[in-house]
Subunit: 212 residues, 2 copies
Amino acid sequence: MAELVDAPDSKSGFRKEVGVRFPPPAPCLYSEDNMMNFCSSCGESVSRKTPDDDNRERWVCESCGMVHYQNPLVVVGCVPEKDGKILLCKRAIEPRYGYWTVPAGFMELGETTAQGGARETLEEACAEVEIGHLFALVDVVDAGQVHLFYTAKLLGGFDAGAESLEVAMFAEDEIPWDDIAFHSGRYALKKYFEDKGENNGAHIHELRRSKS
Amino acid sequence: MAELVDAPDSKSGFRKEVGVRFPPPAPCLYSEDNMMNFCSSCGESVSRKTPDDDNRERWVCESCGMVHYQNPLVVVGCVPEKDGKILLCKRAIEPRYGYWTVPAGFMELGETTAQGGARETLEEACAEVEIGHLFALVDVVDAGQVHLFYTAKLLGGFDAGAESLEVAMFAEDEIPWDDIAFHSGRYALKKYFEDKGENNGAHIHELRRSKS
């Protein structure tokens, strides 16, 4: 289940293998990916402490007192459709090199979730899209990520972007289910086809290592 | 519009007043809240650079080369309902001290978006809820936040949590619209009542300082 904690692109930040349970708020477990050694503001050492007004451990600077919160990241993607076929990208990067995925990646500051999905499609498939409705949200808990998937209309052509080996259109019965890169994307694709173009609300799904 | 960039609780991280535009990816503008001086891994200085495999500026360590990504944060909330009335909390903390809000706050590592909404309700209103469907997503672009709102059923009693002055139930015609703390929460409440209990999909809304 290694791909469970993998993100759709390489700009992954620091979210893996956390073990915070709910409820109650337990002391955060953290892995190498959540490690901090120094305060990014003053450069002095940080340590794990529960701030006075808080109920869980954070990285707190021992010198200036700054609290360095670590929170889940948003991944945004879309399913570009044209003439009954959808666009998939064959990954040219790890994780899941050589596997197929819908265009998706980490949301950036300064953009909306829909713009993020469109941007990722431009980057990975050189394709312009018109974003439709939000149809799936996947909580990838162990990775500390929330994956959002929009429907989309492919507006023109496409080509392999820098992070893709190949980009192609697939009818529903042509989807390479065994070679889909991520659990979240596989869930999104299944729901996408089940919806048959209708807006049935946002399908919510939880992925945890212990549950999958 | 100060409240536009405010988050529903005090654990706000470092997201304000960014000005990245889309498209194309422009060099990130950043404010004090996005400032980094030192690498949290090795403690040496960081500077703004575009990494080789990237298309926008990041904080990069001049010594160990670590890239410190900064991405939007997720705020999760819900609208707890019982007998046709909904629960609101009067804030006991800044920002928007004394204003009313639905229970909401920053999503934590280790939880799902729905669990985050339930946890915030427990913390702010001492109330247990059963989370329903996702009915609104608000992109609070200038704050670097995505606000998610679920419907919910209030399961029992309630009381003011540490971050609330008061918690109360309101019928639709009793909502204190002029005293709602955040634009995103006001949008969510309006859509909640428009939906009249039906799942009409996730209503998507964009808040930017220039557009509001």
